[in-house]
């Protein structure tokens, strides 16, 4: 019933000239995504900003949001900048409601995220 989570990491250069990791998700992000999501984040270099790409995510529930918070906690420990893009307006609202925007900026798309980090 659940669509498995897939991840892919790209290294890009942001508008500022900085190297940036883009962690791209697809499928569902729920409690069963824990190993995939945190495992993929764990392999990313911590000396550069990371963008979380939700463009191809079909479904996120509160357990999935908890995984996003866990990535934010890890980023906070190392001072890594973390941002997200590609969320639907509904999930931008939900992420704001739970306070995620206090620690991670949200952008509508990759270009606007790349231009700012």
């Amino acid at each position: 019933m659940e669509t498995g989570t897939k991840t892919n990491v790209d290294e890009i250069t942001a508008g500022s000239g900085k190297s940036v990791s883009v962690l791209r998700f697809s499928g569902d992000i729920s409690s069963t995504s824990r190993d995939t999501v945190l495992g993929a984040y764990g392999k990313i270099a911590k000396d550069r900003p990371v963008l979380l790409d939700f463009c191809r995510v079909d479904y996120i529930n509160s357990s999935g949001i908890a995984l996003v918070i866990q990535m934010m906690m890890e980023a906070n420990k190392t001072g890594q900048e973390i941002c997200a893009f590609g969320l639907t307006p509904h999930f931008q609202k939900v992420f704001t409601m739970v306070g995620i925007t206090k620690y991670a900026r949200l952008y509508p798309d990759e270009n606007s995220a790349k231009a700012t980090v």
């Binding site: 659940e2 479904y59 509904h90």
Partner: protein
């Protein structure tokens, strides 16, 4: 309003994570037929999913032998969704999530479901089961909210 008013739709799910998506889809279809705008349908989908996840995971403890019932009742101006489980009901409502406490490891990263449900629908009520009656959460969204 169309022919769906004053009618009820019922769905029965196994207590298996992922099946909440069936309830989400059904609720979205009923809300669309009633004329709810897309943003309210998205709110409802998340609230219904979280209510079902709570029923599957916490009330029915992922026991495949127990089911989760969803009853959707449409009236002229509102849609009520009851998510019925086989557990004892919610004893205490958790405090609203505090992102600062979560970020500092002072509260768990999970535990946001009930907060989201309350925030996204017009009415939310948790009813504990009594002898012969099952526990349920009752959600209501109204068509006459400003902007609908």
């Amino acid at each position: 309003m169309n022919e769906i008013k004053d009618s009820a739709v019922e769905v029965k799910l196994p207590s298996r994570l992922g099946f909440e998506k069936i309830a989400m889809g059904t609720a979205a279809s009923v809300a669309k037929l009633m004329g709810f705008p897309d943003d309210r349908i998205e709110d409802l989908k998340t609230a219904v999913a979280e209510a079902c996840i709570n029923a599957i995971e916490h009330a029915n403890r992922l026991d495949d032998n127990l089911s989760v019932g969803i009853v959707l009742s449409a009236t002229d101006d509102s849609l009520e969704v009851k998510v019925i489980d086989e557990g004892e009901g919610v004893a205490d409502r958790p405090a609203s999530p505090d992102i600062d406490r979560k970020m500092h490891g002072e509260e768990g990263t999970r535990g946001m479901g009930m907060f989201l449900i309350e925030a996204l629908v017009d009415e939310a009520e948790w009813v504990k089961g009594t002898k012969g009656d099952k526990s349920y959460v009752r959600l209501v969204i109204r068509l006459n909210k400003k902007g609908n």
